[in-house]
């Protein structure tokens, strides 16, 4: 039990360095790196801890992980607009107290019960990040609770691993700001492939803006809905470069189609419903964009799987709740005899609980962030984090 790591001997099975909790540990996580403000409380309990609702599937020997609360409030902008850092930060400032109170109330704990407070250190938008960090510091000082700074991407991965119990998958992390294919190796989440320009979520969001889709509940979701009505696959550039992808070209190309003579915008759709033979509808463009961009993502994931010889895929990040992407990934994985793990929107989309989960893992390894180092950073590579809690 005290053995730290099996890395010294190649033939030994690696043993997790994570010490078992001696009592129930509670962590509150605050996430606000983009337009979602999320707060969640998670508990890690020893196997024999008398818990009213145990983690369910957990084996008796494993630590019981329970999500006590997971509250989120999203800053939604009008159609055709993105979210600006200062406005997003204002939204977070307005809502953060209410969201925290709600999370604590739902969890049925008191602030003083918390063992640590985790917050997103980066990557993300600077000003919204600062709101989360500021609140975390304040709570920490008020209640004398240690702080843990968490890498947003690692939060996604750790929550995904926990929820799906996939222990060592290839991770496809797709969101508004990130598009990465990640595999774990030697205490780092190593990036095998990523976008060379814009993130896939960014690509979808921006296209939603071009064709005037609403941002409620999210532009990506609305694209997914409209794509279901698409029939025609227009040709778009297919930019895989090894295990990397390029998405800027595809965005530009699909935007160009909206200036095509054959294009019919929403209000023109009904006009030639019957006689129309050669038209391109917004539905077709959503469909083509999804089909092409997701095919690229699935392909680079498959490349990474083949490259490292892994079987399972975990999809995390906001775009990860797109069912078409999950379906395509599922087909690919089944062809390779593997499995796909994806989570629903409560864990896929940015949330506080994932920050709490990753934060509590570091906390159990004895890692806390001293107050002076609780600054946030807009750029924080996934592979910059030392994943001490894995063998």
């Amino acid at each position: 039990m005290t053995q730290s790591s099996g890395s010294s001997s190649g033939s030994k099975k690696k043993v997790s360095p994570l010490p078992r909790p001696s009592r129930r540990l509670l962590c509150l996580g605050i996430e606000g790196s983009a337009n979602k403000l999320g707060v969640g409380i998670i508990s890690h309990s020893p196997p024999d801890f008398p818990s009213s609702d145990s983690g369910g599937t957990a084996k008796p020997t494993a630590t019981i992980v329970t999500v006590l609360s997971n509250v989120r409030h999203t800053y939604i902008t009008p159609p055709g607009e993105g979210f600006l850092p200062s406005d997003t930060a204002r939204h977070h400032r307005e809502w953060v107290i209410r969201v925290i109170e709600e999370a604590v109330r739902k969890a049925g704990v008191r602030m003083g019960d918390l063992d640590c407070i985790a917050f997103t250190k980066g990557p993300g938008m600077g000003t919204p990040l600062q709101v989360g960090a500021l609140v975390a510091r304040t709570l920490s000082l008020l209640h004398n609770i240690p702080l843990v700074g968490v890498n947003h991407c690692v939060g996604h991965i750790e929550m995904g691993r926990q929820i799906t119990s996939s222990h060592n998958p290839i991770v496809l992390y797709v969101s508004g700001g990130n598009t990465q294919v990640i595999a774990y190796s030697q205490q780092r989440y190593r990036i095998f492939g990523e976008t060379l320009d814009i993130a896939v979520g960014n690509c979808l969001d921006r296209f939603a803006r071009v064709i005037g889709l609403r941002n409620d509940p999210s532009p990506g979701y609305n694209i997914e809905v409209e794509a279901k009505k698409g029939k025609r696959l227009v040709q778009l550039p297919y930019g895989t470069k090894g295990m990397d992808v390029s998405l800027a070209g595809i965005l530009h190309a699909v935007e160009t189609y909206t200036k095509d003579k054959r294009y019919r915008s929403w209000d023109q759709l009904d006009l030639d419903r019957d006689g129309a033979e050669d038209v391109i509808t917004p539905h077709d463009l959503c469909y083509s964009l999804q089909e092409t961009a997701f095919a690229m993502l699935v392909e680079i994931t498959e490349r990474a799987m083949a490259h490292v010889g892994a079987k399972d895929v975990l999809i995390v990040g906001g775009v990860g709740c797109n069912l078409r992407l999950q379906q395509m990934m599922g087909i690919m994985a089944s062809e390779r005899g593997g499995r796909v793990f994806a989570t629903d929107e409560s864990f896929c989309i940015d949330n506080g609980i994932m920050i709490a989960q990753a934060g509590l893992l570091s906390f159990r390894m004895g890692q806390t962030t001293p107050l002076i180092k609780t600054g946030v950073t807009q750029r924080y590579r996934t592979d910059a984090v030392h994943v001490s809690w894995r063998a």
Binding site: K12, K13, S16, E194, E335
Partner: protein
């Protein structure tokens, strides 16, 4: 006309004839690996078993040949690899068939061009772009990743921390499960016996890459898995680097393209061989030397750009 179809010089057999043959070849082959985009089969020789393609009803001359070729085959064939790009069901069928055909054609063309320009690549033996089958010379040797003991593969394959927590017992739970990484792989051992160091290997990779890029061919998927080390007994150099898998190759127009190609390899090194990241500098050095100052300078500038761009992307989430 089944006899005509076997003649590669024949001008116009319909694609279906090709596909029938391709299918026959695949059936004879043994599946050795399912790569990212293709299933790879190994075959002793390309010449198909005549019984399949020379029906007894055909002319008497071919019947007589069928009885002999069955065993003799083609003795110069060292072995054939068949790359079958099977239809990807996750992709839209139109998108998929366009991609498959264009990649296969490009791969065959790039291989032919590279080989003409003196780059060591496998010979192209069979092309059936509609059926998605490409026949290549089999390269005997090891991939560079095997030689370097590709760290990441071993890591990912083991089933570590089964239940995320350690079990109370910490004895050797499994001996065989973990593939030993590094030190004692066959390829490195063979190279070391010939007095080849890792640095030497890196230099050869750089030189081979330079030779490829001089032909304006961009590989598009440079990883350590896509370079083979083949021993060349009797030559001045004890081994050669054989570039394989040109499925994503293209022709370069700007220094940017070369730079991206290099960057892809750089990343592959960093992620697959974290312990030998420093070695990559040796690759670049030999590459620069192989290209010559004049060609290298613009690529070097671009490479710095590309590196920065890749990193910049880690911003919002």
């Amino acid at each position: 006309m089944s006899t005509a179809a076997l003649d590669p010089n024949d001008a116009g057999p319909s694609s279906s004839v090709y596909q029938t043959i391709s299918r026959g070849l695949i059936e004879q082959g043994t599946l050795i690996k399912q790569g990212a985009e293709a299933k790879v089969y190994s075959l002793a020789s390309l010449l198909p078993k005549p019984a399949v393609y020379y029906p007894p009803s055909s002319s008497s001359s071919s019947v007589s040949s069928s009885s002999t070729t069955a065993t003799t085959a083609n003795s110069t064939d060292a072995g054939v690899i068949l790359k079958y790009r099977f239809p990807k069901k996750y992709r839209h069928p139109t998108l998929d068939s366009t991609l498959t055909a264009s990649r296969l054609t490009f791969e065959a063309r790039a291989l032919a061009r590279a080989s003409k320009a003196g780059v060591v690549v496998p010979k192209v033996i069979w092309v059936d772009e509609k059926g998605g089958v490409l026949g290549l010379e089999r390269v005997e040797g090891w991939s560079v990743r095997e030689v370097l003991g590709g760290g990441a593969e071993g890591e990912v394959e083991i089933e570590d921390d089964e239940a995320e927590e350690e079990l109370p017992v910490d004895v050797d739970v499994s001996e065989g499960k973990r593939r030993s990484v590094g030190e004692d792989n066959e390829g490195m051992k063979a190279l070391r016996e010939l007095g080849v160091t890792q640095e030497h290997l890196m230099r050869s990779i750089g030189t081979a890459l330079a030779r490829l890029h001089i032909t304006t061919i961009i590989h598009g998927d440079l990883t350590t898995s896509n370079m083979m080390v083949r021993l060349t007994p009797g030559e001045t150099e004890p081994f050669e680097i054989v570039m394989i898998d040109f499925g994503l190759s293209s022709t370069a127009q700007f220094p940017e393209h070369y730079a991206v190609d290099l960057y892809v390899l750089e990343r592959a090194f960093a992620s697959t061989h974290p312990q030998s990241e420093g070695l990559y500098a040796g690759v670049l050095e030999a590459y620069a030397k192989g290209l010559g100052e004049k060609r290298w300078k613009p690529i070097e500038t671009k490479l710095k750009d590309v590196r920065r761009r890749g990193r910049k992307r880690d911003m919002t989430g």
